[in-house]
Amino acid sequence: MKFRKIIVIFALFVGLFIVLYPGQAQNSSGRVSDVQLLARAINGEARGEPYEGQVAVGAVILNRVKDSRFPNSIAGVIYQPGAFTAVSDGQINVPIDPNSTVVKAAQDALNGWDPTYGCLYYWNPATATSKWIWSRQIVTKIGKHNFGK
């Protein structure tokens, strides 16, 4: 009876430890090309979004590359510290199926589709609290995200 209590307490400690320990997504091997990197970023940021929303996230990344205010490469934009939550929570490292929707979305974005007409920022209005991001001018809303410049 007492022993069971001990086990429960121990299990709680372990549980607490797992919760506080930063999770790690699976790593994959092999060279990651532009399409792959873009697709992983889209996967991490807009997985449940409508297709248009996924292409839009890809387009925002490419718009940043072309803009003077951001790094000049896809990797530079994606890995800029603090820019994308998919990087800080490890989602960017989740391997994706080459036939998945996010890869098609990345290809469309690279081929020039831009449902955001040049936006550089996006945020989820339900969860974003940053005053700064809310000061961006909204151009369009797709799925869960506002897109702005």
């Binding site: 022993f3 001990i6 297709y51 205010r69 603090g82 820019a83 800080s88 940053s130």
Partner: protein, 478 residues
């Protein structure tokens, strides 16, 4: 009553022994003891584990800080270089030397930019600094191109360089102050936010004064306009190909119906109005009846003129039945139905059973590449699954095409590999700063490499060289 002390003591001892004995014999005493020891052991292990993790975290923090410090020091070093070089650019009289200096400024700017992009600052905290660096580098590159041809900088350009130099001086001062705080230990990288678990943070971390001072250096910087992709004029483009009246939502839906067949569109809903972008549009989501099972499609129709700007229909694609030539034909027919006349196909890619074909406008035999439309054709049944015309709508107009100053033969003489040329044509190509160049287009093959050379039909200058990459995903078609 008399109490025998000795008896009292013996009595106590006996009682203690009895109670100890009782205690020992009470159920669970050993188990409790054991349990206590187990808990102590677990707590000890957890503490050790915690100490180990903490130590590890300290080491990782140190490594991370070292990286940020490296990026910061490299960045400030290059900004100092830029200040000196901008100064020298104002002092030299020889265009060749100026070209050298400007090339160095451009090079340093790229290095500053790369390192700046590695610092853990909040979104938006250093955007103006990044913009300044990008524009200075870009401007220096443009001036370098000019000086390399022997053309000296004019007074306006000299004044701009002087102004940019002043800004570089201010930037250095502010970076120095930030550096002071770093060295003194009053500023730590982890205070700048931008990373790490924010379990309890509810709002912005305030941007430190020294960071906002750095970015504030450029608050009053005048706009820079020149022939480069980061020039200010590139952010204010207008859609030249859009004309006509504003259309209502219903008219927009009707126009979609004309393209895809009204009877094929089901459950059409307007998702949003897009304003503040380069083209104001209505965004629609709808279901398409086709030969395949229903799936959601999305499209944007412009408010001005009711043109379909883009269309995307993501569905599973079956086995490939059509070849690329048939796909090109289907694409061309779709374009004619949509009101795009005189388009010729130029480049295509084939990915996962869908062909994405690029079409350029042709005027009097001249291929106008800036007026670009893309069509996605599904290769299982020839259905149109994608369409993109923003490029065309931004730049299309009837152009005043001059007669070439050089003849084809004269232009050919300017090509390095003239013996390898396979075909010739005329084209209008876009520059990366929003203007257009009228050129002869020579297609050739050297060893196994296909290439394109563009010779300016007015000045005879070699404007661009393109390599044609033949991959399993696509080929240039001309």
């Amino acid at each position: 009553m008399d109490y025998d002390e000795k008896e009292y003591i013996l009595e106590n001892r006996r009682e203690r022994r009895v109670s100890e004995h009782e205690r020992d014999e009470s159920p669970g005493y050993h188990a409790r003891n054991k349990a206590k020891n187990v808990v102590i052991a677990i707590l000890a292990l957890t503490t050790l584990f915690g100490a180990y993790q903490y130590h590890r975290a300290v080491l990782l923090r140190r490594q991370l800080d070292a990286q940020y410090n490296r990026a910061f020091y490299e960045m400030t070093g290059y900004v100092q270089d830029m200040e000196v070089l901008l100064s020298k650019a104002m002092l030299t009289s020889s265009p060749q030397k100026a070209a050298d200096i400007l090339k160095d400024i451009w090079h340093r700017a790229e290095l500053v930019s790369t390192n700046l992009g590695q610092l853990p600052v909040q979104q938006g905290a250093l955007v103006n600094t990044q913009k300044f660096i990008s524009q200075v580098g870009d401007y220096a590159k443009t001036l370098n191109g000019q000086n390399v041809k022997g053309q000296v900088m004019n007074q306006d350009q000299m004044d701009t360089i002087k102004s940019l130099h002043q800004y570089a001086v201010s930037l250095n001062d502010n970076l120095d102050k930030f550096h002071g705080e770093l060295s003194a230990g009053t500023m730590k990288w982890e205070n700048l936010a931008g990373g790490g678990a924010k379990l309890f943070s509810k709002s912005d971390v305030e941007v430190p004064m020294s960071i906002s001072n750095i970015d504030g250096t450029f608050e009053e910087m005048p706009t820079l306009i020149y022939d480069g992709p980061f020039s200010e004029h590139m952010t204010n483009q207008k859609a030249l190909g859009l004309s006509g009246e504003n259309v209502s939502e219903d008219q927009a839906i009707e126009n979609l119906g004309k393209l895809f067949g009204k009877e094929n569109i089901r459950n059409i809903q307007k998702v949003s109005d897009n304003k503040n972008g380069v083209i104001d549009t209505y965004n629609f989501s709808f279901e398409l009846e086709g030969k395949k099972e229903k799936s959601v499609a999305e499209a944007d129709v412009s408010v001005v003129g009711g043109r379909v700007v883009w269309f995307l229909y993501n569905r599973d694609v079956g086995d490939v039945e059509l070849d690329i030539d048939k796909a090109k034909e289907i694409g061309k027919q779709f374009l004619e139905k949509s009101g795009f006349k005189n388009m010729r196909d130029t480049y295509y890619t084939e990915q996962q059973g869908v062909a994405t074909i690029n079409y350029a406008y042709e005027q009097d035999g001249v291929t106008v590449y800036a007026d670009l439309v893309k069509v996605k054709v599904a290769l299982d049944n020839g259905e149109i699954v994608g369409f993109e015309s923003k490029g065309y709508l931004m730049s299309h107009r009837e152009r005043d095409i001059p007669t070439p100053v050089l003849s084809e033969a004269e232009a050919l003489r300017k090509v390095a590999r003239k013996e390898n040329i396979v075909s010739t044509g005329l084209a209008i190509i876009p520059t990366d700063y929003g203007s257009e160049l009228f050129c002869y287009e020579f297609k050739g093959k050297l060893d196994d490499q296909d290439f394109l050379v563009y010779i300016n039909a007015i000045t005879g200058e070699e404007e661009d060289i393109l390599l044609i990459i033949n991959s399993e995903e696509g080929i240039l078609t001309m």
